[in-house]
């Protein structure tokens, strides 16, 4: 990988970089799912990678552990973003531009968004980490410092509640026609802040 900024070969500089860069697509998706406007995900990703880069010597060797570690950092960056503490950085403009294009293709699922909005923040995040980010239930719960058993119990309760809420918001019907072609609920409803 060659840095556009410097012309240097980053991967040759540090052998841990492939492991870090491999995390980027999933982390980018994590932010795309949670920030508005979508292109701000580029800055959040940059913040996250900056932190991971600084702490690269603490990166767990096992891929699963490394992923969990990176999501822990991403959660904190997201909290900073919601406090307005993540700044725009010119060097990620290309990524911002690509994300802007993505946003234009997204359609809303207002029923689900509304139901999610009514969940407790942690319950909602637990469900989405599993459903969208592909984390295991225990893995997702560990981000909230929950034990595996507590994670599973909370996840089950949260799912039940979400289903009940969904049935209340749209009568339990399945996704309508717009759902089949859509890519996500209205972003404005996604914030857990």
């Amino acid at each position: 990988m060659v840095s556009a900024a410097s012309g240097r070969d980053l991967a040759a500089d540090n052998p841990i970089e492939p492991a870090l860069t491999a995390l980027m697509p999933a982390l980018l998706a994590y932010f795309v799912r949670r920030v508005q406007p979508t292109e701000d995900a580029a800055d959040c990703l940059s913040e996250t990678m900056a932190t991971l880069w600084m702490r690269r010597q603490s990166m767990p060797a096992e891929a699963e552990d490394a992923r969990k570690w990176s999501y822990g950092v991403a959660r904190n960056v997201l909290a900073n973003y919601r406090r307005g503490a993540v700044r725009r950085f010119a060097l990620v403009d290309r990524l911002r531009s690509e994300l802007t294009l993505h946003e234009e293709t997204v359609m809303p699922d207002s029923g689900l968004a509304q139901a999610l909005q009514q969940l407790d923040d942690k319950d909602k995040e637990l469900i989405l980490l599993v459903a969208w980010d592909g984390l295991g239930v225990a893995e997702a719960g560990s981000l909230f410092k929950l034990s595996p058993d507590a994670s599973r119990a909370r996840y089950s309760r949260a799912r039940r509640r979400l289903r009940t809420l969904l049935e209340g918001t749209d009568g339990g019907r399945e996704a309508d026609e717009t759902m089949t072609s859509r890519k996500g609920p209205q972003r404005a409803h996604h914030s857990t802040s």
Binding site: S3, R8, T51, R56, L91, V92, L99, T105, L162, P185
Partner: protein, 237 residues
């Protein structure tokens, strides 16, 4: 709605579905992060590894023109300001941390009037921070290749270490069931002007953490500060 239908609906609602970022964009973002880390963040001189490498390579990234200044230490480069192409605005001097007098330089910029908890000797504190910074060499491990840092970063490191001690005071007093008003006051960002220059979001974080502590909860302070700002050792003297 069956469980399967429920799962499908959740999955179909994923806003990132279909999202594609080019490898080039991700590579650029990663490269930007290795530049950004040292500019925005803390962690002794490890934070400058990216900058050091870039400056040593010295291709597209260039330091601004040297300014006239009194140079009392070999460690002073006479170069001031942010990296070319970067939006950050730290105008302080770049310091060559590999010079033999880099430690002396660091001690010379110890923030005057830096408040420390009772019982902490300022000279001993400053000396300890300087030792931990590992000045006088190109560094090793995480700091390998480090050559230059900005003066603000060094001052900020003194402040960060002092803040960590105050945070330790706040948490210790809480554990004792006491309230240390001075320590809580020291959580205010106004006491840490150099950190405000080098840490993204530190002012907001400290304001929220301080308010939470005043309100009886140290959870934010514990999670945020301990998780990101200080090691366990740095909170005690």
């Amino acid at each position: 709605m069956t469980e399967d239908e429920f799962d499908k609906r959740l999955t179909a609602a994923d806003p990132a579905e279909g999202m594609r970022a080019s490898r080039q964009a991700l590579d650029e973002a990663f490269a930007a992060s290795t530049v950004r880390a040292p500019i925005n963040r803390r962690r002794k001189l490890g934070v400058v590894a990216g900058v050091a490498s870039l400056v040593l390579i010295g291709s597209a990234i260039t330091l601004p023109a040297a300014a006239d200044a009194i140079r009392e230490f070999l460690a002073q480069t006479g170069e001031f300001g942010g990296l070319a192409g970067d939006s950050e605005s730290d105008s302080s001097e770049w310091i060559d941390v590999t010079q033999s007098d880099a430690s002396d330089y660091a001690l010379s910029v110890f923030p005057p009037g830096l408040r420390l908890p009772k019982g902490v000797d300022s000279q001993e504190f400053a000396a300890r921070v300087v030792v931990d910074l590992g000045l006088g060499s190109a560094g090793s491990g995480e700091d390998e290749g480090v050559r230059v840092v900005q003066e603000t970063g060094i001052k900020s490191e003194f402040e960060r270490r002092a803040l960590c001690l105050w945070i330790g005071e706040v948490l210790d007093s809480e554990q004792r069931g006491a309230v240390d008003a001075e320590a809580i006051d020291m959580l205010g960002a106004a006491h840490w002007p150099n950190m405000s220059e080098t840490f993204v979001g530190i002012e907001d974080f400290l304001a929220e953490a301080q308010a939470s502590v005043v309100g009886g909860s140290s959870e934010l302070l514990t999670e945020g500060a301990i998780g990101h700002l200080c090691t366990d050792a740095e909170r005690t003297w």
